[in-house]
């Protein structure tokens, strides 16, 4: 049993909280039932402030926490950069990763809002932030607003949190786009350097951290790094939220230990249910179902297959669909979601999307695949943000994994028997310039 103490050494009032074993860590004990302030405090106790800037960062480093927004960057390094920067710092909790196939941030905000808000407060203390923001998509903030009101009434928080809605765009949650939006401008990326950790919102050093990452920090602050490492792998400790699209069309958010075999998350990955698995979302990588069935949920294992976990999207494409049709739909979406600022992305992504649309239709020309490959090579590394590179990763893996289907299409055939779209795209794709704000 762990007794939480405040920095003064005084035991916290009426809260002796056992460090929880096993799963779930982030999600409620009763699946899907949101935790209000009272339930949250009963389960986890009050947030253990450390009493000064920088003090929590060592625990985060010892825990080995990495960012859960997609980049898997070591969290303590980002915290340390902002904590060491001159002047007032800003913290932004990012719940607008904007991956249409990811549901985990919206779910976390709904069922564990107080854990996220604890994470904001504790991390703000750790970096010396004097301003806190929460950036989220419309329709995902109800529980958070209620939770903020509860905390306000209880006088629980040290720092007020400003909630801002993101525009419904794929790149809205990109770090520099987010800072532009909070600064009153359009949510489009800017060229780095400078990084937002050095010069972000209003010129202040800014920490942008995914809401799940902050929730993990709230747990590390309570139970310590050793507890955090009880689950996960040595190189990638802890749990992560995944959004799993099962071949039968069901979507689940699953909190899983890092290192879990993918076949335990995806029904039918090894059998006949799926033909291929998309790992890491729309900037992610297609893997043949057979390969996916041998892999585990960690970047070390996935790296050998050219894949990364990203924000934890795993989509198992059922055998009755056309992988090329799916890839073409998503690529068209990604091309439309280019901010249009960089020439290679503005021109290259639509060209690639056009080639994929041709490959998805009967009788593509032989040169089309080569064109797609060539354009993919041309746009790589030439954007201000990672959008062209992420799109290319998705496209290239599709061309490889669905190569047989391309040959079939060239002969005028298609293996699919079900034309219904599988991967989720937002309704009514935005097409106008004004949708950026």
């Amino acid at each position: 049993m762990t007794t939480l103490t405040e920095p003064s050494g005084r035991a916290m009032t009426a809260t002796t909280v056992r460090a929880p074993a096993g799963l779930p860590r982030l999600l409620p004990q009763v699946p899907g039932v949101p935790e209000d302030l009272r339930a949250h405090l009963a389960r986890r106790g009050r947030p253990p402030y450390r009493g000064g800037r920088g003090l929590l960062i060592g625990s985060v480093e010892a825990a080995g926490l990495t960012g859960r927004g997609g980049a898997a960057f070591p969290t303590h390094r980002k915290l340390a950069i902002v904590a060491a920067a001159r002047g007032r710092a800003v913290i932004v909790a990012n719940a607008a990763e904007s991956e249409p196939a990811s549901r985990k941030d919206a779910l976390l905000l709904r069922v564990a809002p107080h854990l996220v808000l604890d994470g904001i407060q504790l991390t703000a203390e750790a970096i010396g932030a004097t301003e806190a923001h929460l950036y989220l998509h419309p329709g995902t903030g109800h529980a958070i607003m209620r939770a903020l009101a509860e905390r306000h009434a209880a006088g629980a928080d040290r720092l007020a949190v400003t909630v801002t809605e993101a525009p419904p765009r794929f790149l809205a949650g990109q770090e520099s786009a987010l800072v532009n939006r909070l600064g009153g401008g359009p949510a489009v990326p800017t060229f780095v350097p400078p990084r937002v950790t050095e010069r972000g919102l209003g010129g202040a050093p800014t920490l942008v951290q995914n809401v799940e990452t902050l929730a993990h920090i709230a747990l590390i602050a309570r139970y310590g790094p050793r507890w955090f490492r009880e689950l996960g792998t040595a190189g990638e400790p802890g749990t992560m939220l995944t959004t799993v699209h099962q071949p039968d069309g069901q979507t689940q958010v699953i909190e899983a230990e890092i290192g879990t075999p993918l076949r335990t998350l995806v029904a039918g990955a090894a059998g006949t249910g799926a033909q291929a698995v998309l790992v890491g979302g729309f900037h992610g990588t297609w893997l043949p179902a057979g390969a996916a069935a041998t892999l585990t949920l960690d970047n070390q294992a996935l790296k050998r297959h050219g894949a990364t976990l990203g924000a934890g999207v795993i989509a198992a494409l059922p055998a009755d669909r056309c992988g090329l049709a799916e890839a073409a739909r998503v690529t068209r979406y990604l091309a439309a979601e280019s901010a249009g600022q960089c020439g290679p992305c503005l021109n290259g992504l639509p060209a690639i999307a056009g080639a994929l649309a041709e490959l998805a239709a009967p009788g593509p020309r032989r040169a089309t695949r080569q064109n797609a490959e060539r354009w993919a090579g041309l746009v790589t590394g030439r954007g201000a943000c990672g959008h062209p590179d992420g799109t290319v990763r998705f496209v290239r893996s599709a061309l490889t994994v669905f190569a047989e289907e391309i040959s079939r299409h060239e002969r005028g055939q298609c293996a699919a028997t079900n034309r219904r779209p599988f991967l989720p795209l937002p309704d009514g794709m935005p097409t106008t310039e004004d949708d950026w704000t």
């Binding site: 060229f191 600022q341 020439g343 041309l378 030439r382 954007g383 201000a384």
Partner: protein
């Protein structure tokens, strides 16, 4: 000290002046945007490189010391 050329792709509007002035290190893609040799600038090309950076109409081309 090694120097490399880098383009700010947001500022670049594809005038193509750079590829004309410095074909040794810069070519254009099929949409007219520069593809830049990422290797350190050879010392012998120093005057040409500086002239090219100065000539970019949108100030998108930069010389970075590394």
């Amino acid at each position: 000290m090694a120097e490399t050329l880098r383009v700010n792709p947001i500022n670049c509007s594809g005038h193509g002046v750079c590829a004309e002035l410095l074909p040794e290190l810069i070519s254009l893609d099929e949409w007219g945007y520069p593809i830049i040799d990422q290797r350190p600038v050879p010392p012998g090309l120093d005057p040409e490189v500086r002239r090219t950076v100065a000539a970019c109409p949108t100030l998108a081309l930069r010389l970075l010391r590394s």
